[in-house]
């Protein structure tokens, strides 16, 4: 039933892109800290910013994570803005205090914010200074999660890219997977590849500093997420080579992603089939079950996490949906090109955002499902439009075969719920 649709002569790879500039209803890159600090268990993320940054981190996930968080905000105050020497001294003091309270911390990220960038606080230099001061126990790195430089998931990209230059050199021919996924999904990916005889497999970011991958000219890597452009460039500068493939969402995406790696490592077809046949069937069955409510329905993607293009590929080709518009904060063709090429021509592809203008297009199209941020979901529901909040797609295990049905389920649940309530009201 969900055999991939044959690729039309024309795909979205050649569609014109509507570029917009205006109000963007998206998170800044600081938001990535919410999942990165759980993934990297000996790292601490210290945002150098304002009360707004602290408030964002507290509010972004919709709930507060009250397990002692491994992140915090050094809030700039009036006195810090007066003179630069001041701010650096203050930062050194706060870091020293933090590290003495948390001796388990091995990696400290100084995370730049909009205010720290506008006042040109040099966090790269601060990181060097603090690395020397706290060596060898703690390594201090810096990256920008500011809204003026990064959009939502670009924060993870900036963080991983900052780690690449300090990874150890290695000449081993090894596979490195890039991207912070939930442990259960990461383990599935490693198991599938290991069963094909590929290994050893490293992951960036690793859960602890000592497990960090080593990099060199014989390293090949595959991205697990479509927003890792800076990290890709940094790895390529170290001589590593990227395996190009669609992203591992759904049965088709997972198979194509695995196949690209299998080909790189010379895995024969029989082995590939032995490892993937059973989970492929399971994934298709699960998608069939979960996507019944999606078939023939239209979907509109507002820009959010940069997962939009791979997910639109999954929904249109594996769940029978029709995409009206696929909006992304920005489009990195080197990364999402293979996914884009699989989507049949038709949907509008947009990059950037002018939110009120885009909402006008949503109201005109009245799609069956709108994928959007939390600030827009309830207002659109109140206008009678079904929505799927996008942040759940980043916080939920959705990659690879065993989650393919869950991924379809995330999109179908709002439609099923609406149907149940409408039936109930009619009774």
């Amino acid at each position: 039933m969900n055999t991939p649709a044959p690729i039309k002569a024309q795909s979205c790879a050649h569609s014109p892109v509507l570029k917009e500039r205006g109000q963007r209803e998206v998170f800044c890159g600081l938001t990535g800290i919410i999942w990165l600090h759980r993934k990297m268990q000996d790292a601490f993320f210290l945002v150098v910013g304002s009360r707004t940054c602290a408030h964002l981190l507290q509010s972004a996930a919709g709930v507060m994570i009250f397990a002692e968080p491994r992140f915090g905000t050094a809030i700039l105050e009036e006195t810090d803005l007066a003179g630069m020497a001041d701010a650096n001294d203050e930062l050194d003091r706060e870091v020293a205090r933090l590290l003495s309270r948390r001796p388990d911390i091995k990696q400290l990220f100084l995370v730049g914010s909009c205010p720290s960038e506008v006042i040109k606080l040099d966090l790269a230099r601060a990181a060097e200074r603090l690395t020397t001061a706290h060596a060898p126990h703690v390594r201090v790195l810096n990256y920008s999660g500011s809204g003026i430089e990064t959009t939502f998931t670009q924060g993870e990209d900036a963080c991983l890219a900052a780690m690449v230059p300090v990874l150890k050199e290695s000449q081993a021919r090894e596979l490195v997977l890039i991207g912070a996924l939930p442990d259960v999904v990461e383990d599935q990916a490693i198991t599938l590849l290991s069963e094909m005889g590929i290994g050893p497999i490293r992951v960036l970011p690793s859960s602890r500093a000592e497990g960090a991958p080593e990099i060199g000219e014989n390293t090949v890597f595959a991205c697990l997420q479509p927003f890792l452009g800076e990290t890709t460039a940094a790895l390529e500068r170290r001589g590593a080579r990227r395996i190009t493939a669609p992203f591992p969402f759904g049965e088709e995406g997972t198979t194509l992603w695995l196949r690209a790696i299998a080909e790189e490592f010379g895995v024969d077809d029989a082995t590939f089939a032995r490892v993937t046949d059973a989970p492929r069937v399971r994934a298709r069955t699960a998608i069939d079950n979960a996507s019944a409510a999606l078939r023939g329905k239209s979907v509109f993607f507002m820009p959010d996490s940069q997962l939009e293009i791979p997910l639109a590929r999954f929904l249109t080709r594996e769940c029978g949906m029709e995409a009206v518009e696929i909006g992304a904060p920005y489009i990195h063709r080197g990364l999402v090109g293979p996914d884009l090429a699989l989507i049949p021509e038709g949907p509008r592809i947009s990059e950037g955002q002018d939110v009120d203008v885009q909402l006008d297009r949503v109201r005109t199209a009245r799609p069956d499902l709108t994928v959007c941020g939390l600030g827009l979901a309830n207002p659109l529901e109140a206008e009678g439009l079904s929505t799927k909040w996008a942040i759940e797609l980043v916080f939920t295990p959705v990659h690879f075969y065993e989650q393919a049905g869950d991924l379809a389920g995330l999109f179908s649940r709002p439609l099923r719920r609406r149907a149940i309530l409408e039936q109930g009201a009619a009774r």
């Binding site: 205006g22 109000q23 963007r24 209803e25 998206v26 998170f27 800044c28 890159g29 600081l30 938001t31 210290l46 150098v48 304002s50 009360r51 707004t52 602290a54 408030h55 964002l56 507290q58 509010s59 972004a60 919709g62 507060m64 009250f66 968080p69 915090g72 905000t73 050094a74 809030i75 700039l76 105050e77 009036e78 810090d80 803005l81 701010a87 930062l91 003091r93 706060e94 205090r97 933090l98 909009c114 205010p115 960038e117 506008v118 006042i119 500011s146 809204g147 003026i148 430089e149 959009t151 009120d356 941020g373 939390l374 600030g375 827009l376 979901a377 309830n378 207002p379 529901e381 109140a382």
Partner: protein, 510 residues
Amino acid sequence: MKLTVWTYEGPPHVGAMRVATAMRGLHYVLHAPQGDTYADLLFTMIERRDHRPPVTYTTFEGRDLGADTAGIFRDTCRAAYERFVPQAMIVGASCTAELIQDDPGGLAETMGLPIPVIPLELPSYQRKENFGTDETFFQIVKALAKPMPRSTEVSVNLLGPLALGFRHRDDIEEIKHLLAQMGISVNVVAPFGATPEHIARLGAAHANILMYPEHAEAAARHLERVCDQPYTKTVPIGVGATHDFVNELARICGVEPKIETTRLRQPWWSKSVDSTYLTGKRVFLFGDATHVQAAARIARDEMGFDVVGLGCYNREFARPIRTLAKEFGLEALISDDYLSVEQAIEEAAPEMILGTQMERHIGKRLGIPCAVISAPVHVQDFPARYSPQMGWEGANVIFDTWIHPLVMGLEEHLLTMFREDFEFHDDAGASHHGGKAVAPSAPTPKFQERAQDTSSDVMVWLACAEKELKKIPFFVRGKAKRNTEKFAAERGMSEISVDTLYEAKAHYAR
């Protein structure tokens, strides 16, 4: 620079958003970088609002910084006016835009928009969210409200309720009930549901009801000065405070104080014998100053609790809270540092916390029940049902809310009698909170830790005394431990035996 893990208040522009979102016909143009739009979800998700906050963000990026960010502001301002056609606009900067000094107020003024444009100066690096609400509402009132003839009937304005407030929606209804009984009509409620046109009519009221000093005190003072309107100083949360409020309002308005309490059940619920077990429950109060002040009076005078600690996170109200604490024989905790609040609660070892959502988590970690009395809020603080804090129904709601987290009276006795029963024991917690009967366990690691802590303090619990202590129900164990140690220390004892434990118990018996 100050390291912060969790914050009680957001930045001041979020306060301005709370005012704008509560109103209709007002639009807020905020000079801000990408990402500051996160604040929209506070309103659409936590409060389940069915429309977007009326806020347009300029969303400037890094590459705009060297260029014309002022131009972006002007374009955004004009586009927002044309799209939303508001009756008035407020304009301002978030923390980042404050640094680039584009002067949104000055820029907007030169644009010649045909509506009032009110500039906001909200210093992000000095002040916080509650300053933002109070200052924004004050600026709007100052710009739009002028002296005017009084309404013929006695009328009042309700000042302070806004978006993301703790039960503001229902408090308004409750105040309206009280007013209706006294024959006082409502001129304007603001900011909640008001338009700029309504604000312009504020001067027609005979007096103002200052519902939430955190959000409207500056406006109330201004109106007192400019429109000669007195305002109420009592916040009607609790039975006693509601009586006082009615009397104060009657005096201000020159009408008879009419009190109709047929719906008020709290006093009898509190007097009834089932409530005896509430006597002397040790409670710790923390939240915004207004709610803490009200809660302290209710806790002591209407519930019979023992207030063992109190404080607020909004420094602006430090003085009245310090005075209040002194009246209770306590030292007030004025802090917005979550970790020091946690430490203070741990040290006071109360039997219940009356706090915010932040203290609810502290309570979870320390194993202390908690009821929420104040913002900052959570999605659970916007119940579908009618659930005010103010007035007679508010008093009923508070009674229910506060006793719900506690182990009920008879259950408490049974736990004391049969504390080693395999399924009905301390660790199972209050039975009405769901089936979580676990096998009785060794004392929790937290407790062991503390036991070790004390031994390092030269105070040694003999094994038999420690065993006896563990037989005391969990909700009073902390108090028993502290009292015994204090008792022993005062007598220069370094060892605690079973006898010491019971001598201390006799000494502190009430």
